[in-house]
Every structure is written in C-alpha cells, then in structure tokens.
C-alpha cells in the first residue's frame, strides 16, 4: 500500500478511535510531516459519503457519525405487553360511556377514589385526554376518549359501543338485584323469564345521547 494509502488508514483509525472530534492540527501531529491533511480528510469523507457512517465536521474537528437517515433504525423498539389494571379499564369504560366526564363524576360512578396513576396510564396509552371543563365550581376538567381509543378497540365511533340493553343481553350487565339471590340459587333458569320487572332505567345511558355540555347524570336506580 502506498504511503498515502497508509496515511488514509491512519486518519480513518484516528477519527474512529478518538473520543473527541480531531481537528486538522491534531491529525497533522500524528501524520508524517508535510502530510496533506485536508486532502486526506476530504478523500475519507468522500469514501464514506453514502455509507452507514459518515465523516462529519463537528465543533471544529472531524469525527465519524452514523448516517442521520439510519438513526431511527439503530434503536430497537421493544413492545412490552401489559395488562391494564382493573381500575384503569373500569375508568376507561366509564369515560367511554359517560364522556365528557369529570374525575369526580368517575369516582362517584365507581364508588371509589381514582388513584393518581390511573388516568395517567390511560393518557399514556393515548386513549383518553382532558377536553373542556365542567361549568361548575372549580371548573373541573372533563375527560373524553381519543381517536386512538376507537382504533384500538376497533370501533368506528362512540355510538358503536353497545348500549346497556345489549350488554345485558350479552350477559355482561346483570342487573338483577341481590334480593333475588335466593331465587337464582334455587332455580337459576328462571332468572331470565320474560316479563322481568327491572325495567331499563339504564336505557338512556347510551353514548352520544347526552348533550356534550351537560354532564350525564350518574344513575340512581329507581326504587
């Protein structure tokens, strides 16, 4: 290999190994006297122009840097599947059905105080966001679901959420009061006989039925 070729290798190794960009003077100090530092660097820059790493000028010196277009591919994205806590999914469901809904209203519906992290988790997941305020003392923020929420759960829009009737039919919402517990134990098959008395006071709970500005009533079962 020619001397120039060897010098080029040396510049390559120096720029590679140095923890800091090396300026022309620093390179010259390590090359034979009278070396064409500028020409060597230019040649090396050209060699690496379209490569995965490039020779770039940084803070007055020369350094190797990975090609900017590859930056996103250098990092490995690892997906961690995690289950939502019961509190989180319940809160999400209540926001979905009752939006816009304040934190206080969610707590009222759930009957428990919302843990600080619960809404954060849902926000982080990109499924809920605060939007607007309730025009009541303190002007509490109201929460709504996001388009990502619809995407994740495969819904076209909020009206796709099954109404309470449908939930009930699917066995997801059994509103039989506990007074009938004995009956259910005695003859469970009788539970769904027609003419059931628990009329659907939940019926108007469908999403979209509520006016946006109006807080939905938290439901009190009729008595």
């Amino acid at each position: 290999m020619t001397d120039r070729g060897q010098d080029l290798r040396l510049v390559e190794a120096l720029l590679f190994a140095s923890a800091h960009p090396l300026d022309d003077a620093a390179l010259a100090a390590r090359l034979p006297e009278g070396s064409d530092v500028v020409g060597l660097v230019a040649e090396l820059t050209e060699i690496y122009r379209n490569r995965g790493v490039n020779v770039v000028r940084i803070s007055g010196g020369w350094s190797f840097r990975t090609a900017p277009d590859l930056a996103p591919r250098l990092n490995l994205e690892r997906v961690l599947a995690r289950k939502l806590s019961r509190a989180a999914i319940e809160t999400l469901a209540i926001i979905a059905y009752h939006q816009p809904v304040t934190r206080g209203e969610i707590e009222e519906i759930r009957g428990v105080v919302i843990n600080r992290g619960t809404l954060d988790t849902l926000m982080e997941a990109g499924w809920v966001r605060p939007k607007g305020h309730r025009q009541t003392p303190g002007r509490p923020a109201t929460w709504v679901t996001t388009p990502e929420f619809l995407l994740h759960f495969g819904l076209d829009n909020l009206t796709d959420l099954p109404g309470v009737d449908e939930l009930k039919a699917a066995g997801l919402l059994d509103s039989r009061p506990s007074a009938t517990l004995g009956e259910m134990i005695a003859e469970p098959e009788s539970a769904t006989d027609e003419g059931e008395e628990s009329d659907d006071e939940l019926g108007d709970d469908e999403p979209g039925a509520d006016d946006a500005g109006e807080p939905p009533e938290t439901e009190m079962p009729a008595s």
Binding site: A13, R86, L92, A93, P177, A179, S223
Partner: protein, 259 residues
Amino acid sequence: MTEEPFEAAKPATPPSSELVVDLEGYEGPIDVLLTLARSQKVDLTKISILQLADQYLEFITELHRLRLEVAADYLVMAAWLAYLKSRLLLPEPQPEDEPSGADLAAALTFQLQRLEAMQAAGVRLLARPQLGRDVFPRGAPEGLKTVSRVAWDATLYDLLKAYGDSRRRTTGSVLEIRPAELYSMDDALARLEKLLGKVPEWRSLASFLPAELRGGIFGRSAVAATFAASLELVRSGRLQLRQDVTFGPIFLRSPPDGG
C-alpha cells in the same frame, strides 16, 4: 507487541551448581525446578528426574551454605525430591500401597510441563493486541438504545366487561331495596277481590295466581300471598275454601249466596 511488560523477567541465566544463590525472581520451587530443567537442554518429557533432583538439592544446599533464608515451600520440595530420589534408586518391588518411583517422577514431569505451558500461555496471551493499548474501539460510540413501548393489552370485551361489572356493583348495592320482586298479600287481595262473585264453582287456588306467574321465589311468594289473602276473605265471609286431603290442592269459590 513483542516486548513483555513483566515486572520480574525470568532470570537470564539458569542457575547451575555454582551460581545464582538467590530466590529473587523465582515463583516457587516448581519454577526453580523448571529453570533447572531447562539447563538440561532437553525436552521436558525426556528430562532426567534423578539429575534434576540432584540439581535442586545442590541449589538448596548452596543457599543454606550462604545462610540465606529459604522459604518452607522450597524445603518441602527438597525433602520430597530426596524421597523421590530414594524411591527411584530403590530396587523393585515397591511397597504395594505406594506409587512407584517412576509414577512419582512422571507426576513431577507433568507438573513441570503444566507450569511451563501456563507460563508460555501467559506470555502468548499478553502478546495479543490488547484493547486500549494496541487496538481501539470506537472512541465515541453513539450507543444503541432499546426503546421500550408499552402495549396495553385490553380488548373490547375487557372494556365492556369492566363497565358491566362497574354498573352491577354500584347499581346492585342500591337495588337491594327494590321491592317489586315479591308478590305481596295486598296484590293478592286486590286480585282476588276483583274476582269475587265470579267463581261459582270450586276452582283450585293455583288457577287464581297471576297469569304472569313465574317460578322460583316469585311464584312461591304469589302462592303464599294468594293463600293468605284467601284466608282473609274467608274470615270476612266473602270466600269459601276447601281442601280434601292434607297437602292436597286447595279449592275456592264464591259463597253461593254471593257474599
């Protein structure tokens, strides 16, 4: 890369009987033996152990003569070599439970070979291009990151189930007071009173139960309430009851005179 950065280089000249009377620079008795063995200038496998033992004992004697302090390790080795020598010179047969002199000599040869091999390996190892001395890694690696993204695992079913659970839990606790699930005596009384005077013939009590009668506790409450109501109507003379056998069906009719 060839120069060895060792603190204590090996003694340049191996000690013979008349020289080096110093243990400086030796790494123990086997190292001394190894150095002495090299002076025989033959392969370690062909070395004369007897001669080596003599060389060593001579070396130790010389140290003693010069009143140099000799570490116990070296003296133990001297004693062992003296023993080995006697075993090598002892005529056969050997005592049964002891290894032969040849076995012991072979074991010593192995020791010497092994140490020599390790000494050589150490030298070769350190002669390799070393990181940070001969070869260098990237001075400023950008580093590769592993970005963790949490994918929350929740299905539509989970969502709806959670909503259902929530609703059931909160509404259920209030619904306990809902009274409509039982057929009350007032209901039965009202119903029977409507039918008074329209039942000239005996009819079973069961046929007076509400049409929407369901089974279970509601049905039983209807039977009980209707029976209690019928007793009340009988007491006021507006109804007649009849039961032919114990646990048999109960019949009722309007009094023949119409009440």
